[in-house]
């Protein structure tokens, strides 16, 4: 793993740098626009939205939509806001991310350091799992969860998210460990270290970057999932995306766009924070593993 270089940049003139900065800022605007639209409109009263300039700042600032989305908006029959559903999502996301990450790490370890006949085939088959459209697994998964007695429960959702995350987590860790010097492992073996000791003492301590990538990836995907969340949850386990969807997608009611936008930003806060806080490690982690061919 090489040290991040700042030397690729050639010496450039002021004019060229001005162009570079303008281009970067222009694209930053492109990326920020939808968020800006959501943010300004979440701070306007509904009447002002109806009248129309969606890009203008509020004439009359209001935080009422945010308060409503958080604690008083109608999600089902009760006006609870999004607040109670955060906990459900966290109870589901944390174990699912942890389990799929741990299994992915172990799989990556086995597939690179304990190779066996047909290991590439096994890996290939696991990797293909990333690409299955989730709609087709819905009905058979429901059957399996029913048989296991996990239907409509958080453990059931955890199982499903874990299984469909395994392909990606295994891919990330395998590519990362591929580059890890095998000599170290051999040396440890000769010293009598066991399978798990090697994993825990040698590989895991240097797995920081790839754990970050995997956790971000899994966290984002599972947090944002709607299809499984709506089909495999029940009264006590409804995740935040389903609640948000209920807030936003009611079919024959008045659409309070300002509340919708506020709710959307609220529901996305955990993933946004994860991205912003760990963005630096994300690139470093990708560099270390995920983009290796």
């Amino acid at each position: 793993m090489s040290v991040p270089s700042q030397d690729n940049a050639a010496r450039t003139g002021i004019f060229a740098r001005a162009i570079i900065y303008s281009a970067l800022i222009l694209f930053a605007i492109y990326y920020l626009l939808p968020l800006y639209v959501m943010l300004v409109n979440s701070l306007k009263p509904l009447d002002e939205i109806r009248q129309g300039n969606m890009l203008s700042l509020p004439q009359q600032w209001t935080f009422e939509p945010w308060r409503s989305a958080w604690s008083t908006a109608q999600i089902g029959v009760s006006p609870t806001g999004l607040k109670p559903y955060f906990l459900n999502s966290i109870m589901m996301v944390a174990p699912a991310v942890a389990l799929s990450t741990i299994l992915g790490a172990l799989n990556g370890y086995v597939l690179t350091k304990w190779r066996f006949k047909g290991d590439n085939l096994v890996f290939g088959l696991m990797l293909l799992a990333c690409f299955i459209p989730f709609q087709i697994v819905l009905i058979p998964s429901a059957r399996i969860l029913g048989i296991l007695g996990l239907a409509g429960s958080i453990p059931g959702l955890i199982l499903i998210h874990m299984v469909y995350g395994l392909g990606f987590t295994t891919l990330f860790f395998r590519n990362y460990y591929e580059a890890f010097p095998t000599e170290l492992i051999r040396a440890a073996q000769i010293d009598g270290a066991s399978f798990f000791q090697i994993f825990r003492r040698i590989l895991l301590p240097s797995s920081g970057p790839i754990i970050v990538v995997t956790v971000i990836w899994q966290f984002t995907n599972i947090w944002n999932d709607f299809l499984f969340g709506s089909s495999f949850s029940s009264v006590d386990s409804i995740p935040i995306t389903v609640a948000l969807n209920n807030l936003v997608n009611s079919s024959t009611g008045v659409k309070e766009y300002n509340v919708h936008f506020a709710g959307a930003i609220l529901a996305a806060l955990p993933t946004l924070i994860v991205y912003i806080v760990s963005g630096r490690y994300f690139v470093r982690g990708l560099m270390a593993g995920a983009v290796k061919g």
């Binding site: 109806r50 009248q51 908006a73 109608q74 999600i75 089902g76 029959v77 009760s78 006006p79 109870m91 944390a94 174990p95 942890a98 389990l99 990450t101 741990i102 819905l138 009905i139 998964s141 429901a142 059957r143 969860l145 029913g146 007695g149 996990l150 239907a151 409509g152 429960s153 958080i154 453990p155 955890i158 825990r200 895991l204 299809l227 709506s230 089909s231 495999f232 029940s234 009264v235 006590d236 386990s237 409804i238 389903v242 969807n245 209920n246 807030l247 936003v248 997608n249 009611s250 079919s251 024959t252 009611g253 008045v254 659409k255 309070e256």
Partner: protein, 417 residues
């Protein structure tokens, strides 16, 4: 770090294990998509009523796609062997589920309370399967309404149109007055809602033959070509940005006077009321010209699933509460619809609501009450959506009226097969 993760996992595993608790007898789990302010609050009336009778309401809302997301979730629930007690459902979806042999039986309570006499036969067609009551109807929405901005109408002569020609005359005047005559959202179901009314205006017999009996000769007929011609004519009065617009934004155009009128079911009334408008003063509600005396409807019903004996009591109680006149009145005043039973006093309803109740009773009496194609009450989902494809494609100018009529017959045949 790993150890911490592991402990965390086990801890949360232990915590969540408690969540899969067995369900208690005196409770109903209700899957529905009424999640917005007004209608959810209206449903809360039912919840409170049940709770006062000692039944716990477990709420399972899944919104989206006019119930499509809820029906997707329902498939998973039924496949897992864990169906909810009651599920909001529409029209042919109820029949389709009944065919799977998974629905419950409300016949005892229905007989005891005499539902047969007070619920219109056209609704019973969906609430019953194989002679047994399987669903409790909550409301009747009628879909062949026009909502007109009163000021815009006054500026265009002040007389509400009663025939197709008068409608076109009013639309022309509105156009001349510089507003967009029709507020419309170009989504397949909204196009189909107009289509429903236009077909019905060609006569109730024609509606029945083409939309309900799916007679190929009626589907690909000169009359159907005329229907498509009328759709193309109406298309001229829609503003350029209509495509993809949500129906309530189209209502907002009418409320603000940017558009003259909207063709939409009576849930649109809620938008007008919420904006502080009064029926008869700020806006006018009329039936689509040529459909006076007839009604196309859709009816939200709670379809009941098979449950154990203990839960059956709670289920029956819920069904009984749904059909109680006071709930029917309280709910439908808020929702903008008419009660599902014909003997509910209309005192709490506004003028448009009173008219809806009267129209419904009259249409029912004269055999002119029909399920709405656009809302899944005339034919099964596969056929309905095949029709949507043709209607929306024609409305967006992808084919002419003659080709559309032929395509309609062809698409229906393919979807039936």
């Amino acid at each position: 770090m790993l150890r911490k993760l592991l402990i965390g996992t086990m801890l949360s595993g232990a915590l969540t294990a408690g969540y899969a608790a067995p369900s208690f007898a005196d409770e109903v789990e209700v899957l529905h998509w009424w999640t917005s302010g007004g209608e959810a609050a209206a449903l809360d009336v039912l919840k409170k009523k049940l709770e006062s009778q000692g039944v716990t309401w477990k709420d399972m809302p899944v919104a989206g796609g006019g119930g499509e997301a809820a029906m997707t979730a329902l498939r998973a629930r039924v496949t897992a062997g864990d169906p909810p007690t009651a599920v909001q459902a529409l029209g042919f979806d109820i029949t389709d589920w009944a065919k799977q042999g998974v629905v419950g039986d409300l016949t005892d309570i229905a007989t005891k309370e005499g539902w047969d006499k007070v619920i219109p036969a056209a609704l019973q067609q969906f609430s019953k399967y194989d002679g047994k009551w399987i669903a409790a109807p909550v409301n009747v929405h009628s879909t062949n309404w026009i909502w007109i901005n009163k000021k815009a109408l006054d500026a265009a002569g002040g007389k509400a149109p009663e025939t197709w020609d008068e409608l076109i005359a009013v639309l022309d005047k509105m156009k001349a007055n510089g507003i967009s005559p029709i507020g419309h959202g170009g989504q397949a179901w909204q196009d189909a809602t107009i289509f429903d009314a236009v077909v019905l205006a060609e006569g109730t017999d024609f509606y029945k033959q083409s939309m309900i009996d799916l007679d190929p000769a009626a589907l690909n007929s000169d009359k159907m070509v005329e229907v498509f011609d009328h759709m193309a004519k109406l298309r001229e009065y829609v503003d350029a940005d209509f495509s993809g617009r949500d129906w309530n934004l189209a209502s907002a155009m009418v409320i603000e006077g940017k558009a003259g009128m909207q063709f939409m079911g009576d849930w649109a009334k809620g938008e007008f009321l919420k904006a502080g408008q009064k029926p008869g003063v700020d806006f006018v509600c009329i039936r689509f010209p040529g459909t006076q005396g007839a009604v196309t409807f859709n009816s939200d019903q709670f379809m009941m699933f098979k449950v154990g004996d203990a839960e059956k009591k709670a289920q029956d109680l819920m069904a009984s509460d749904i059909e109680s006149p006071d709930f029917q009145s309280a709910f439908n005043v808020v929702k903008g619809s008419a009660p599902a039973r014909t003997d509910v006093p209309n005192t709490a309803f506004d003028d448009c609501g009173k008219k809806a109740i009267a129209d419904l009773a009259e249409a029912d009496k004269n055999g002119k009450l029909f399920g709405s194609m656009a809302h899944g009450h005339a034919n099964p989902a596969a056929v309905k959506n095949a029709m949507y494809d043709v209607i929306t494609r024609h409305f967006n100018g992808e084919m002419d009226s003659k080709a559309a009529a032929a395509a309609l017959a062809e698409a229906v045949a393919a979807a039936k097969g």
